[in-house]
Amino acid sequence: MQVFKIPESMKKGFKYTFCPGCDHGIAIRLIAELLDEMGLQEKTICATSIGCSVFLYDFLNVDCIEAPHGRAMAEATGVKRARPDKFVFTYQGDGDFASIGFAESSHAALRAENLTGICINNTTYGMTGGQHGPTTLIGQKTTTSPMGRFKETYGYPVRIAEHIALCEGTAFSARVALDTVPHINQAKKALKKAIQVQLDGLGYGFVEILSTCPTNWKMTPEEAHERVKNEMIPVFPLGIFKDKTEDN
């Protein structure tokens, strides 16, 4: 019996262009599996963002609009208001979602837009080569915090999922990780709920995914996953911070 296959919602013959050990690949696969399982592929429109996440349209066989940096939630709002019958989600990095696009992200949640937001948090700006970003951990060295992030100059990292959970219009907000098999399975469940709240018209669904950036962290893939466990999860605790669905 076949227990694993490449999801139908992936583009035929796709090959990921991410670095070895990057969790983007797992996140996209989970989305594709859910689009298959929930029968959504043909009615999906995705707003991609700027950063490594932009290449989603090379891999996922759905309609995509590429948003300027930070504006994915605004474009998704436009799509959803024009075509309320479609399933609309954004796929963004932490810099896109929670730095340059924090206004758009928060206001989409406050307006209770029926949208699903997926944010990959890898504590750095990956595509530009590992700069200090909104989620960079205290003490973390990046190319623009070479002595490590210290609070006096750089302030504090943002806990995105908790922030979005505070918005009245948010129906579901969770933080998940992809470092272990149980965490990956939990991530899929959370993503499914974030999708379901949109389909049920309950409001804004959001999942923050703790992810690796081995290249910019200067680590091997498994060292990077150790870092997720040992350094990121203590600061960004996993869990569901808001859930308006009935079975909660």
Partner: protein, 360 residues
């Protein structure tokens, strides 16, 4: 033909707003800024009543990107704003040109630079025609001169945006936005454009589509930009429009855009009555600009006097069009009260050396 009874007394901003409804605008996204706020106020109720989309956006950045999102699905959508806030939208306009999306944007100009003030001006000619965004691109820009044209050119903006898949701007100003005039809506006069070949409707029975501006192959990127500019050439060939008055025998031709057209037409009549062979020329499309026609006129016209409410912006395009064949001069005021007919007449006389009636 429009019968007299079709007309109603209406403010420019309301005229634009209702014209967008009649043009089939399915979604409006906006953020308040004087002097265009009535457009959003009007549509907040009207779109709700019609069960169409309306979002009071968190910023102009969000508003224009919501428009991009909506039009990417094949829907008609627009936003409206004013000068310093249109500046915020320039990034998205560059994206929309690259993505070839039929965005409609209304700019009711106020005075700049910076926050400036809410009285009218025409300081956004460069911003509109030459663009404030990055890279090579061109918007289609239409400039109405009265409230009736606010309606007509809003209709046309929706059609041109769809037809050419290019962001189209209606460049009005605070004077037009706040002015009441009799005008008639009639019916939206243009055919609907089929957008099924590119719109994002969900990947049903076909491969997933992506609308993006990210370029990863240099040759493809070059080819894409050249193709865009071939399209702009076609737009120029087919859509360039202008008005001219008494140019056949004119020695001096007054050139203005937008609502200043009204005053140069009046000034032309005064100058004619005083024996000066004056004509008037008014581009309706600022981009594409009626370069060829101005160049032809320059064969017989001695002087062009460009009248603008800025420090001289459109005059550059007039000079490029005339290409040294005739003299091109400027009568202007940067911002505020429109140049009166008397001031324009005096300015023209000053330029052509007739001091008899000059009083400025």
């Amino acid at each position: 033909m429009v019968s007299y009874s079709d007309k109603q007394l209406i403010k420019g901003n309301y005229a634009i707003a209702e014209a967008s409804v009649k043009a089939g605008c399915e979604c409006y996204f906006g953020y308040p800024i004087t002097p265009q706020t009535e457009i959003g106020e009007y549509l907040s109720q009207r779109m709700y009543d019609l069960k169409r989309g309306y979002v009071c956006a968190e910023s102009e950045l969000a508003a224009i990107n919501m428009v991009i999102g909506a039009v990417s699905t094949g829907a008609k959508a627009m936003t409206s704003s004013s000068s310093c806030a249109v500046a915020l939208m320039q990034e998205a306009l560059s994206y929309a040109c690259s993505d070839e999306l039929p965005v409609v944007l209304i700019n009711v100009m106020r005075a700049g630079p910076g926050l400036g003030y809410i009285y009218p001006a025409q300081g956004d000619y460069f911003q509109s025609v030459y663009g404030g965004g990055n890279g090579d691109y061109k918007l289609t820009v239409l400039a109405p001169s009265n409230v009736q044209e606010c309606i007509d050119l809003t209709y046309r903006a929706f059609y041109l945006a769809q037809k050419w898949r290019n962001p189209t701007m209606v460049l009005a100003d605070g004077l037009l936005g706040q002015m009441m005039e009799p005008a008639s809506f009639g019916e939206y006069p243009y055919p609907e454009v089929d957008n099924s070949s590119w719109a994002l409707t969900g990947a049903k029975g076909r491969e997933g589509r992506a609308i993006y501006s990210c370029a990863r192959d240099e040759d493809e990127h070059n080819a894409k930009i050249r193709r865009l500019f071939e399209k702009y050439d076609l737009i120029a060939k087919e859509e360039t429009t202008w008005e001219e008055f008494n140019t056949e025998d004119a020695d001096v031709v007054l050139v203005a855009f937008g609502s200043m057209t009204r005053n140069i037409k009046a000034a032309m009549k005064v100058l004619r009555s005083q024996g000066i062979k004056a004509g008037a020329f008014r581009p309706v499309t600022l981009s594409p600009f009626p370069t060829e026609r101005l160049n032809q006129l320059a064969d017989s016209v001695d002087k062009f006097v460009v009248v603008e409410m800025n420090m001289g912006q459109m005059i550059n395009d007039v000079k490029l069009a005339v290409n040294g064949k005739s003299d091109v001069k400027l009568v202007n005021r940067p911002v505020g009260e429109w140049l009166s007919v008397e001031e324009i007449v005096a300015g023209v006389k000053n330029i052509i050396g007739d001091k008899t009636y000059a009083s400025v």
